[in-house]
Amino acid sequence: MSQTAVEAGQTRSFRALRDHAESGLGLALVAVAILYLLYKAVASPARFFDAFLNGVNNGSLYALIALGYTLVYGIIELINFSHGDLFMLASVLAAFVVVTVFGVTTASVGGVLLVLVGLVIVMVAAASLNVTAERLAYRRLRRAPKLAPLITAVGLSFVYQWGGLRSNGSGQKTWNGIFGDRGFSVGGVKISWATVVVISVTIPLLLVLTWIVQKTRQGKAMRATAQDQDAARLMGIDVDRTIAFTFGLGGAMAGAAGVLWVESIGDTRWDAGFRLGLYAFTAAVLGGIGRLDGAVLGGFLIGIVQSVNDAGVLPFGQKWSQTVVFTILILLMVFKPEGILGRPTTEKV
């Protein structure tokens, strides 16, 4: 506080040095992980690439869910704990709409169109649910101590799980995606059509989302609200509407993830949202929470790590997959809470 300019300058250069060292260490760790994976890829390529593609498939879904966390966290610094369960409800609804109502189980032109219609329906439904939750529960608590909205989110996640339990039953239900497990093979590695579909839906969605946030008026309002709500309000931005819109965007992404989940993985469980929500949250933190590109990068990384571990490439095996991902979460939180792409922030007083 009573520093001279010279002292402040020295502190700053020291801090810059430390930042470089820390990010260097993080990059080195990532590099070691990648080298290990490359070594495995060379040692047993077919098994590795199978797991890798599976990971890309899961990673796309994690990225879509992680975007919901990161959008909401970016704008009101709330960990929307119920987001994973919102995804679960979306997957249950997707199975109901696509398989039960539309009856689409085989690949045809009409089938693909109906799946797209289902995608839109589920995205709108999940977005509306998220906006309703914001309006009823979170908006009143925006100025409360931080514990209050977090506990509310936990309560909401219980309510969603109850919804899943009522609509999906206490067991697991398996649905037939339109492509089943058919695919084509390139050089001995089987690529399933479902993975192709997941990627070809995810990438346009990500592009549209980036365009909305970066280029449109509404996106500008979102970024302004994230920086300073009061200043944004003084500039004539409807803060409430902007925050509701952000929740809607996040919900729509979770809805899309739900449809893709049913089409590619194909099973729905009432308690799937909890685990997947945590995976996606880990992904968001891994990339740097609050950053859209970070959520996508983190989603793919977590998806690949999990699949590679599931396939037995890592020395742990499938039963420890959850532990591996949560250990990554804990290590990140402790040593690099700002993530790979994020910048360290000091706490606001």
């Binding site: 409360a144 309560g155 219980f158 959850q322 250990t327």
Partner: protein, 419 residues
């Protein structure tokens, strides 16, 4: 804040002082004795509707379960209510305490044969058989150690990140126990630490020690409490709960407790006043974990076994709902919240559903609404009565106090609640 409170004692301060003072053990003891005599002497000697009513609505096993959950809720209250650190993985300490009991009070480790005042079941000579009362101490120490180990690297995180990390631990530790039936350790291959999903069972009985020799015609006290001595077990769990309440209340009044409250209310201001943040938070974690471990031992002894399936995320949240419903920071509120919610969870909801079904003829499966009810409790309490049903005066003032910056910006926007 503290100076304001002491200068003008708010209404409610007196009642808290009365409860926190020396008077409460007498009231608690009378309540326990009333319940005990009801179930031990009055009900078995009656006939007619009343014993049936209690058998349906409030059997003694449910009362015992309520008490055990109350012990753990009081432990969680120290972390969440006193120190303001949101812990979403408290079930981890429950699991560690439960498995400590499983290891030291059963014939699980067939490699060894240790008996310290233990009461092994027939045909279970091998394994650790340590006296229940000693295991309580061991589990408390074991859990406190784990509380410090988990807390030390994570407690410097912000509140919401901390919640997620504790949640991660709450998932990892039960999963470890689930998978730990086939560990490849450097010194032992295929080492079984937990029996996996089958769990460790049976657990040794609770010994009564010298009280066995005091038993008379009115009250027969066996040397160890078998599966049907629920009334005596009730006394044991009441004693443990009283210990947890005692610890909570005494620490709350002392230097450490005041430091916890200061951190809860404003971490930055507390550190400026010279409160060592890390050490104080770690103490909260350790004490909370120790009480959770004691509760875990009681739970294991009550159900006669320990299995990884018991430790689900929903248990952490139900415990949190107990703390929130009763009133964060107020031991009596938490105790009430825990007793009521566990009764709803265990028996109340089921019987209510059965009654409505038999009266109206509609088949209502009330227990399937469990999640809805607990979720709604959390949401509605946060929206409308953030301080809980039996709030601590101090908590109410803090939770209702608008922040300074927001008071200033109120002129720009008057939406939401009037401040």
């Amino acid at each position: 804040m503290a100076s304001v409170t002491s200068a003008t004692p708010a209404p409610g301060t007196t009642s808290r002082n009365r409860l926190a003072g020396k008077g409460w053990p007498i009231g608690f003891g009378i309540a326990v004795l009333l319940v005990f005599s009801l179930f031990e002497w009055i009900l078995p000697n009656m006939s007619g509707a009343l014993p049936d009513f209690f058998e349906r609505w409030l059997p003694l096993t449910v009362v015992n379960q309520c008490l055990i959950w109350a012990i753990m809720a009081i432990g969680l209250n120290i972390v969440v209510g006193y120190a303001g650190l949101l812990d979403l993985g408290y079930v981890a300490f429950w699991a560690i305490g439960g498995y400590t009991a499983g290891w030291f009070m059963s014939g699980f480790f067939t490699q060894v044969k240790v008996n310290v005042f233990g009461h092994p079941a027939v045909g279970q000579a091998s394994g650790f058989h340590i006296n229940f009362w000693f295991v309580l101490v061991i589990a408390a120490a074991h859990c406190a150690l784990w509380g410090v180990l988990i807390g030390a690297p994570t407690l410097r995180l912000k509140s919401d990140y901390l919640a997620l990390v504790t949640l991660g631990f709450g998932e990892i530790i039960p999963e470890f126990f689930k998978n730990a039936d086939d560990l490849d350790l450097p010194w032992a291959h295929h080492f079984d630490l937990s029996h996996g999903t089958r769990g460790i069972t049976p657990i040794d009985a609770i010994p009564t020690g010298v009280f066995h020799y005091l038993s008379s015609g009115v009250l027969q006290i066996p040397a160890e409490l078998g599966p049907f001595d629920d009334a005596l077990k009730f006394l044991v769990y009441s004693l443990v709960a009283a210990f947890a309440i005692f610890v909570s209340l005494r620490i709350r009044e002392g230097r450490l407790g005041r430091a916890w409250l200061a951190i809860r209310e404003d971490e930055l201001a507390a550190s400026m006043m010279g409160v060592p943040l890390m050490r104080t938070k770690l103490a909260a974690y350790a004490v909370g974990a120790a009480i959770g471990g004691i509760g875990g031992v009681c739970y294991t002894s009550a159900v006669g076994g320990v299995a990884a399936e018991d430790f689900a995320f929903s248990s952490s949240i139900i415990l949190l709902a107990m703390v929130v419903l009763g009133g964060m920071g107020n031991v009596w509120g938490v105790l009430t919240g825990a007793l009521v919610l566990q009764w709803i969870n265990g028996n109340g909801l089921k019987e209510l559903g059965n009654t409505i079904t038999s009266v109206t003829g509609h088949d209502i499966n009330f227990p399937s609404y469990n999640f809805l009810i607990f979720g709604a409790i959390l949401i509605l309490m946060m929206l409308f009565r953030r301080e809980g049903l039996l709030p601590e005066t101090r908590t109410r003032q803090v939770l209702r106090e608008p922040e300074r910056g927001e008071l200033e910006s109120v002129g720009a926007d008057l939406e939401g609640e009037p401040v």
